[in-house]
Amino acid sequence: MLYTRSSFHSSFDIRNKLFDLDFTLFFSILLLGVISIFAQYSSSGGQFDYYSKSHAIRFLVFFIFFLTISFVNIRFWNDYSVLIFIILILLLVAVKFFGVQSQGSRRWINLFVFNLQPSELMKIGIILFLSNYYHKISSGDVNKLRYLFYPSIALLVPFMLVLTQPDLGTAILILISGVVITWLSGVKWRIFAYLSGLCIILAPIGISFLKPYQKSRILTFLNPDSDPLGAGYQIIQSKIAIGSGGMFGKGFLNGSQAYLNFLPEKHTDFIFTLYSEEFGFMGSAFMVFLYFLITFRITRIGNYTRSIFGKLYCYGFATAFFIYVAVNMSMVLGLLPIVGAPLPILSYGGSSMLAMMFGLGIVMSCNVYKNSTVG
């Protein structure tokens, strides 16, 4: 351990490490960030108001944060992943008691500078924790019932905490991220099949716990035209906005659906709709490509990382990242019900941005320290 510690603080080493950054990933993120600032600017009706300004500042701050994390040795994240996870669990518990309430749900903790949403960070925390866990246990133990106990608890506790905030979208995304890592680690199909069976049996009970608005969202998704001015309104207006963008879009700041407020939540969940309306199919396809490129680079970093922790983390994060993007896009394209899932980096939201940049930072650190062995 000592020989690496010493190199960690060498300024010469940092300069060398600078070239170990994955520049494709680096510039993709930077480009996405710049696009996101323009999109937020347009979403504010073509002005630098509170939303667009704070989004731009956050991106700059968190991009620096991302770079900083990139140069922290991967071993550090492995060592502290359990601690980070426990802190996040405690934050989620704290939300239950001291959380800021808004629109019927309690998701935020007031940090005076901004309201932190620990559930967003938990998306990364769960990946970190499980990567670390499966890194530690031997391949032979993976399928032993005893070794399935911890990951199950580690998965269910944050899941339940987030679900009861209530925040179905984030809870599901946390669950999926965890399941993906578990599965990647070699847990047998059979076990997942049993668990799925159990879920199907328990689903009716679960549905009875859903809030009425959550039920209506699912029903609305199944038939959006049934109530065009009610819950289906968002899906219909989003489809109209995207569809009316056509091949080349209506032009920057010219999206009538967004500009005239027909589009709901245009700063957050529906930011892709706004972008798509203004830049058309060409712009949207480029955006999808950019996200895919980022996912691909993360996976590639995973391929070249020697440590199991690094591999699991990169693969897990790549998959989670892809799922966030896919869920959000499918949602605004009317392929999935509206569950409240932001689009990474593009959507307005400090916690989401922090979580993504944090997550990407660790990925970059895997690349920079790809040859490091992890304890």
Binding site: Y134, S138, S139, G140, V180, W183, L184, S185, G186, Q237, K239, I240, A241, I242, G243, S244, G245, G246, M247, S256, Q257, L260, N261, F262, S276, G280, F281, S284, A285, V288, F292, T295, T299, G302, N303, I308, K311, L312, Y315, T319, F322, A326, M329, S330, L333, G334, L335, G375
Partner: protein, 647 residues
């Protein structure tokens, strides 16, 4: 921590990589799905969504187009558009509608009932739609509203246009406009695009029959609105297309005179150009103020109009049905002559009555006319003579002649409310009443009583067609855009331009494509001569109303249509018409043509319950004929102007 051997790492890596490959494949599938969906929305269905987005984005307010104008023959506007002051409200920009009405109540005239109705109207509309609070403010009210505008948020004082009628004289001929009723929307398909606040549509007369052409096409104001319906900016405006303007054959001057002439009585007057059928005047009395309907007629005014026994809303000139009385004797005589039933030299002795088949038929003159020829019988309107003629003629032959001269069918196409009237014959009675014809009914029909029913317009047409020498004309009230000269008019022009060239009747008919209504024109001339005698010779029925000045001389036939037949007792007591109750008095008729030496115009005058034609109707005709003839030169000049050099 260093207890992991390399084989463990290798096997783990293998599993992870294999499973990651599966996940990556899954990602590729999802990616293709998203691409496909994007392409489907933005490429395949983009036009559909673009139109949906525009539907979201644009809100159109239709603007009422200016209504076409109705002019008289000389271009005077009978029905025009006037500037009016309106008050509009947009609930969207009003903080409190109730409070607004409370304030408005102190500024303009608003009854609680009106406020209640307006609030109901507003609640039915979208909050960004305009509602008209008051559509005809006085200038005083309008300027007061403008003064207090700062405390009347959401109120828009607007200058608009509305129908305006200069006077009441043409209220029946032109009709009136009023707001669209639910029934209008159902029955009139052309209103589909025109159901706009402030659009008034024609309800009667020409306003109704020309409605579709006069409405024009609506303009619009297109606004971009946001999701809450608030107008963001005006995108486009279109003033719409003004409705078509129509020129009528009416002479406003004569219309006013006719109206004045009928001021104190109930009746109708029609004046017609005997060569081209132009209706120069057509009035019905009493009339109404058509302006009252433009902004919605007041309840008490409507009640007054509908409860009046003289029926001011009825256009008596085309919809009033009356037995023609003695005016039909012109046709009875003509029919008998044309069918060679009698000779004009036939002498009948009138002793005041005639007994036929055990029944007694009275002449209007109790003492009788003595021995009369046809000319004298027409001149003095001897009933006994025409009892004898019609007995020989028979109803079926009389009805053929009557129909030929325009009775029993609608004269114009422009009036939905026009009535066809009745020309009875044996077949008609069998069909309509299921009974056989009696000879007595022939006698009554021969003097224009009984089943005969005519309108004043029909009788003016009849007179015109006798006066023009017995040729068919097509009456009209509208002047075409490219005014054609009628066949008869062409012949007339030819005659006046080449005075020396006398053409035989057959040549006239052949060359000018005329439609004669006679077999022998001598018969027509005989009737015309008898009508001359009736007005201009001592003993004639309308002698007292004659014009002494040669220029204005006319020839006419009086008539009275019985409301109730006199009982024998009344006849013995020599009861005068003026002694019986108003509603039982006879209707007075007078038909005439003028000037006698060169006939140009025909007139029919009806005075309801006027008693006798000679005392009630003929003096009115006298006045109007004078004015019509005085204006003859101006009319000819205008005719020439309208039809270019053709005339």
């Amino acid at each position: 921590m260093l207890s992991f051997n390399s084989s463990n790492i290798v096997s783990k890596t293998k599993t992870i990589s294999r499973r990651m490959f599966l996940i990556s494949s899954f990602k590729a599938v999802v990616l293709i799905g998203i691409f496909g969906r994007l392409a489907s929305l933005q490429i395949n269905n983009s036009s559909k969504y673009r139109s949906l987005a525009d539907k979201n984005r644009f809100r159109e307010t239709k603007i009422a187009p200016p209504r076409g104008i109705i002019e008289d023959f000389f271009g005077n506007e009978i029905a025009s558009n006037n500037k009016i002051y309106q008050l509009h409200i947009i609930p969207d920009s009003t903080p409190d509608v109730d409070e607004l009405f409370f304030r408005l109540k102190n500024i303009i005239d608003l009854s609680p009932r009106k406020i209640f109705l307006l609030k109901k109207k507003i609640s039915k509309k979208k909050s960004w739609d305009t509602t008209i609070i008051s559509d005809n403010l006085t200038w005083g009210e309008f300027s007061k509203v403008n003064l207090f505008l700062h405390e009347l948020q959401g109120v828009q004082p607007t200058v608009s246009i509305a129908r305006f009628y200069a006077d009441n004289s043409s209220s029946h001929a032109i009709g009136y406009v009023s707001e669209i009723s639910p029934n209008d929307l159902r029955t009139k398909t052309y209103l589909q695009n025109l159901n706009i606040e402030g659009v008034a549509i024609g309800k009667t007369g020409l306003e109704s029959s020309l409605d579709e052409q006069m409405l024009g096409s609506p303009g619009y104001l297109r606004y971009e609105v946001n999701a809450y319906g608030k107008k963001v900016k005006k995108v486009a405006t279109d003033a719409g297309l003004k409705g078509k303007t129509f020129r009528t054959t009416l002479d406003q001057n004569i219309q006013i005179l006719s109206t004045e002439a009928l001021q104190d009585v109930s009746g109708a007057i029609c004046v017609m150009d005997i060569y081209n059928g132009d209706i120069i005047s057509m009035v019905s009395s009493p009339n109404f103020n058509p302006n009252s309907f433009v902004h919605g007629v007041k309840n008490n005014e409507w009640k007054e109009l509908t409860e009046n026994i003289d029926k001011p809303m009825l256009n008596k000139a085309v919809s009033g049905l009356y037995p023609p009385g003695s005016t039909i004797k012109t046709l009875t005589a003509l029919s008998a002559l044309e069918n060679d039933i009698v000779s004009p030299k036939l002498i009948v002795h009138c002793k005041g009555y005639i007994d036929l088949h055990g029944e007694r038929y009275h002449c209007w003159k109790k003492k009788g006319h003595g021995s009369v020829s046809m000319r004298t019988a027409l001149k003095k309107s001897c009933d006994v003579y025409f009892y004898e003629v019609s007995r020989k003629l028979g109803i079926d032959r009389l009805s053929v002649t009557a129909k030929k001269f325009g009775l029993g069918k609608k004269v114009l196409q422009n009036y939905d409310e026009e009535k066809a009237g009745v020309v009875p014959n044996t077949r008609w009675k069998k069909r309509e009443l299921g009974k056989n014809w009696y000879l007595g009914e022939t006698l009554h029909s021969g003097i224009g009583q009984g089943y005969f029913l005519t309108t004043p317009l029909q009788l003016s047409l009849m007179t015109a067609q006798i006066a023009n020498g017995g040729f068919k004309i097509e009456p009209r009230i509208l002047v075409e855009d490219n005014d054609k000269v009628g066949d008869l008019q062409k012949y007339l022009n030819h005659k006046s331009t080449t005075p020396g060239n006398v053409m035989s009747l057959t040549d006239q008919i052949y060359n000018f494509n005329l439609q004669p209504l006679f077999r022998n024109q001598e018969n027509i001339n005989l009737v015309k001569d008898a009508m001359f005698a009736a007005t201009n010779e001592v003993g004639g029925t309308s002698y007292r109303s004659r014009h002494k000045e040669k220029k204005f001389r006319f020839a006419g036939k009086t008539g009275s249509s019985q409301i109730k037949r006199f009982t024998e007792k009344q006849r013995e007591a020599e009861i005068k018409q003026k002694d019986i109750t108003y509603l039982e008095r006879d209707h007075a008729w007078f038909v005439a043509f003028a000037p006698v030496q060169d006939p140009q115009y025909a007139i029919s005058v009806l005075v309801e319950h006027g008693g006798s034609g000679s005392s009630a109707a003929a003096p009115i005709a006298k006045k109007i004929i004078k004015r019509v003839i005085e204006r003859h030169e101006i009319r000819i000049a205008q005719k020439k102007k309208l039809s270019g050099k053709n005339i």
